[in-house]
């Protein structure tokens, strides 16, 4: 394949990656923005979604589509419940203190990851896509399912935006993000908003996991790469900013796709991590904008 079509393929792959990454990063950004904490276990929620989707495909009869449909509903709900539990049992008890939360979520990462390893084993498990068709471009055929993933992700992003701007919970979350003390003074149930924000963030990651598992395979370590990437997206795109996160996801996703195809995925990651470090070092306000210049 000559350069042009190769680039087009890279762009397609990058776009699909970007949509999925936007979902995952949005979950992280929400937690950053509303709760002011860094959740290092975020990638594990993504992994759990994928693993649960595989389980559904094994346990639910009626073909790939049924299994997938069940997974799409059940997966995020289970992961959301786990997130609420983690918030109540751990995060609330340490009062969402920044450095303690990071250490605690690192612990949570290992707990979730290793439990999955015990229960599901170390092998990568494939899942059959619910819909299979090929889209024929003049130079290559492309998986139709991947385009559907992009489409569904887009819809979910839109839905989240609508929920944040039109619903009461969304209003509560935006208020808490802007000024927590003020929100509390106005009667916003901040603790409950925190739990719901954490759950919502986890569920977004889980949905992404369910969508992606027919393309990638389910594996207990698959949460680590998306964690790093969504970190990069959130820090570059601006914490808690929905639009910023989506834009950054596209920039990162597409350039990562292009660089990975033409150079090397490792090199792409090196550049990305150093870019994040540079943004943080040069940004005058610190991570949450409170540190003085």
């Amino acid at each position: 394949m000559s350069f042009g079509p190769h680039l087009f393929l890279a762009l397609l792959e990058g776009t699909v990656t970007a949509f999925v990454l936007a979902l995952i990063a949005l979950g992280l950004s929400l937690v950053f923005g509303v709760m002011r904490i860094v959740n290092i276990a975020h990638g594990e929620f993504f992994m759990l979604g994928a693993v649960l989707a595989w389980s559904c495909s094994m346990l639910v009869g009626g073909g790939a589509f049924m299994g997938f449909a069940v997974a799409l509903v059940v997966g995020p709900l289970i992961v959301g419940a786990m997130a609420v539990a983690a918030d109540g049992l751990i995060l609330r008890r340490i009062n969402y203190q920044p450095e303690s939360t990071i250490v605690a979520t690192i612990g949570l990462l290992y707990i979730i990851q290793q439990l999955v390893l015990t229960l599901f084993g170390a092998d990568a498990r494939p899942v059959v896509p619910p819909i299979y068709f090929r889209v024929s471009f003049p130079w290559f055929g492309y998986s139709g399912y991947k385009l559907i993933v992009a489409g569904v992700s887009g819809l979910l992003l839109l839905g989240t935006w609508l929920a944040m701007s039109k619903t009461k919970l969304g209003l509560y979350m935006r208020a808490t993000q802007q000024d927590q003390e003020m929100a509390q003074a106005f009667g916003v149930p901040v603790r409950r908003v925190y739990a719901k924000a954490f759950a919502l963030g986890a569920m977004l990651a889980a949905v992404a996991g369910v969508l992606v598992v027919p393309i990638q395979q389910a594996h207990y370590l698959m949460g680590l790469d998306p964690l790093l990437l969504s970190f990069i997206v959130v820090i570059i795109g601006g914490l808690g900013s929905l639009k910023g996160t989506v834009v950054a996801a596209f920039v990162v996703g597409i350039s990562d796709g292009v660089v990975s195809v033409f150079f090397s995925p490792t090199l792409a990651k090196i550049v990305a991590t150093l870019l994040v470090a540079a943004v943080l070092v040069l940004r005058p306000g610190g991570l949450f904008g409170e540190e003085g210049s």
Binding site: I102, I111, Q114, L115, V276, V281, G286, L287
Partner: protein, 320 residues
Amino acid sequence: MSGRLTGKVLALHLGILGLLFIAQFVLPAYHHTNVARIMVLATYAVGYNILLGYTGLMSLGHAMFFAAGMYGAGLPIYYLQFGAVPAFCVGVLLSLVLAALFGLIALRTSGVSFLIVTMMFAQACYLALLYFNKITMGDQGFILSKSLESVSLGSFEFAFSDPAVKYNIALLLFAGSFLLSALLVGSPTGRVLIAVRENEERTGLLGYNTYKYKLLSLVISGGISGVAGAAYALLFSYVGASFASILYSIYPILWTLLGGTGTTTGPMIGTGIMFYLVDIASGLTSSYLFVVGAVLVMLILWFPKGIMGAVRTRWLPWLP
């Protein structure tokens, strides 16, 4: 006047070292090697604790300093047939330089920003080691034992394969960093570091250039971590990128939290306990890293002071 290097404090530290020295004559072979390994890793923890426990800066990227020591010592031996002592010096020097450069860039940030910058930098170093795997052999790593038979001091020849040599070199290096940490903490400079941890702005308004002190702490911390990394390469003959991965940045946090941050004796105890916990767990299941997660969460929830921290609060307030 807690922490000053009084006779009592010195006696405690020398006593612990004495016990470790005697232990090599009574330990069975399996534990003998383990303790040697623990002492090298405890050196790493001691280095880490200077930055976290005494200066109050949490880093998620210290594996890059450990790995700088390891590769700085290992690569010259493997490719250039360096002797043990020169290679060790290269390793330590590399980690010191890396810590200084990193500090100059990253110390304008603090708190969570600093933590993420350390994580990103270390991740970049790890990925670079993988990217250049033609030289570094990446994750697979390389073995040094053929290139590194022994070290000679004067007319004495010490073979690295001899367990007694391993143990005593590890003990020597640990003793050096252990005593250095006690000396530092009890000194006026150590007082300033603790003040930075407690209230950085106030420390600045007492006339101290806190940036310079944080940089000093980072360089010492990185240097000691590099000593540990170089020692690990020399004594256990293996250099591999896994020691630059984020797990090896998480381990010192775990060890110092368990043992007690802000205590000189804590890191060693935390390292010892976790080493055996992981050792036992890995014999039982392949998901042994579960204990890492479980212990971290339990520490954060219920024992934030760690073992020696609790001991100090309840019984021994003079403990440094």
